[in-house]
Symmetry: C2
Subunit: 360 residues, 2 copies
């Protein structure tokens, strides 16, 4: 029996927030943050491959990363790697994958997920995804995975759910941007709000319908090639037309507008690992709240630091630091205050100005 | 005409004060601190080879470092590398070299110098050494190179000179240990005191006479083999007898006791590079007093730091650090306060306790 469940892993990001650990040439999703031997992308793939046939898993990424994907996921055939010639945010990325998969299987139910998130409770997560895929097969709804918040986090968007609904699948009332501290506290305490994980589930026809309704300028581009998807001509078509798509997120373009959006409420130990701070929060810490990733470390009079050297053979000796990021990778060592990590982007720019592309 | 001038470079130290930059397997003298392409040992050799025939230059070192010496100084024949089977401080080291050189040339005048010091004004230094070698050829005196102090440094020993003497060669009144701050200030302001550089000049017969007078227990060991030096049996003799020598410095054993000691007063831009602080003091600094050795660095809100990564291809990005040592070398990153650098020895011990020999 054909399996109608598909997975799309979005792996084209080039985020510089984890510099110097992440580089343009090897961004976050390709890194093994915790020294487990598997990158975040590989972990994402491993996770979904437990409930979705490997041949039904697709990666959408930038052409730049073709070799990295092949190297890290040799299980994939080349027709499972969808290459974006330009970066156009999540809506065009998802449209591309949706049109492709519809050409493969017009009954496909799809879970779409970023390649660089962390899931600590895998069994709960996989159960939720299976339940969600069943739900979207039988309901005309766009489903987003909501995470029960465990703190008033200001780094995440929130989804307000209609608590009158069914326990697991709730109608979405509103999507919100990242809140300030006061608002985050209100959200957290209300019990109505969930973190927006950026993980979506839907039937392929429902999402393509939604593109026609809410992002017709995107849909028209892909409609022009609807008989070309999953044929040898697809690549040329994409290379010719993809850049015409507006740069827009699926949240802003569709999810915040469509009326038939539900949230699948979960508590799966999720983190988007979006910042050093997020990484610090979910990392194991010593008695002085120092988190050491991958490497060895000895701390003296130091607390609240996150320290990561490029490999497990290395030792950091840290004296009299409080609240710092110490990250060494390849040819860069970064030492900066955790609370100032938003300045890292500027450091990357400065490094490029001063030294060219050697360190970025 | 035979050249009677000889040089002995002492290169057996294993100091851990520059850990992790220096390691037991590759201590300070073998390191290229400033990224010039030549280690301190090589710089010392290069310097002396400008005024002393290469074949008259000897290195005394620990057996452990034979390969490093051969690699760094391929100009030397193996009979110019004198290998100590054990570490016994400077007096036995100098006795060994003196007995060996006397067997080569009984009229030798010798300059003895550590392998790991820095000399910034080479021409002045070489002129002083030449002048000093002439002086000891014609005078029965043990000569030590004194450095005109430029600050009340507490990390150096001082030599009090008799200012009634000749301008350059002054009779030594006293050797002093490292002074406290108040005393250092008195020394500095008096104009009578010079830093004790640990560089000595003498005729080979005068120093061997001094061993007989002031360190007879050392002299007797080497006298037992006096016909064996500079023969194929020397190595076996040394391996058999060297360990019997007491562990004692030439300063304590001879220089502080002998009456015929003069100081050659110089101002040659000398540093013993004994500590990170000393290295910091003599290093070029940016407008915020950050010293960057070998590598690239960008500083933000940071001052008074000394930063060195293992090679010139690397970049350090340092935010909000004041007065730190940041040193990365091979498999260790050290971050600690400059004022607490004496604790580094303990960190090395702790690293050995925790991880064995991997990091020491």
């Amino acid at each position: 029996m054909e399996n109608n469940n598909y997975c799309v892993i979005m792996g084209g990001g080039i985020g510089s927030r984890f510099w110097p650990f992440s580089r343009v040439s090897k961004p976050k999703q390709f890194l093994d943050f915790f020294g487990t031997g598997r990158s975040l992308l590989q972990q994402t793939f491993d996770r979904f491959s437990k409930i979705i046939p490997v041949e039904n898993i697709f990666i959408v990424t930038n052409e730049l990363y073709t070799d990295l994907i092949r190297e890290q996921l040799p299980e994939l055939n080349s027709n499972q790697i969808l290459l974006e010639p330009q970066r156009r945010n999540t809506a065009p990325c998802i449209a591309f994958a949706s049109y492709h998969i519809r050409a493969v299987n017009p009954d496909a139910n799809i879970v779409v997920a970023p390649s660089d998130h962390l899931i600590l409770r895998e069994n709960e997560f996989l159960l939720a995804v299976k339940t969600g895929l069943d739900f979207v097969e039988n309901n005309n709804t766009l489903l987003t995975l909501g995470i029960k918040p465990n703190r008033p986090e200001t780094a995440y968007g929130y989804i307000q759910a209609d608590n009158n609904d069914n326990v697991i699948f709730k109608k979405v009332k509103t999507f919100t941007e990242k809140p300030n501290v006061e608002l985050a506290r209100v959200f957290y305490e209300s019990g109505e709000f969930y973190w927006n994980s950026g993980i979506f589930l839907w039937n392929v026809n429902q999402i393509i319908d939604a593109f026609h309704l809410y992002l017709p300028e995107v849909a028209s581009i892909f409609d022009a090639g609807k008989n070309i998807f999953n044929t040898p001509d697809e690549k040329a078509f994409i290379n010719e037309n993809f850049s015409a798509s507006p740069n827009i997120s699926i949240d802003y373009g569709i999810m915040e507008k469509a009326p038939n959006v539900h949230v699948l409420c979960t508590d799966v130990g999720w983190s988007d690992l979006g910042t050093w701070g997020a990484l610090y929060d979910i990392s194991e810490k010593d008695e002085n709240n120092n988190a050491t990733l991958k490497s060895n470390a000895m701390y003296y009079g130091s607390s609240n630091n996150i320290v990561t050297l490029s490999n497990s053979e290395k030792l950091a000796v840290i004296q009299d630091l409080d609240g710092y990021i110490v990250a060494e990778s390849n040819n860069v060592l970064l030492i900066c205050k955790k609370e100032d990590e938003q300045r890292i982007r500027q450091y990357v720019i400065d490094a490029q100005i001063n030294y060219g592309d050697e360190y970025v």
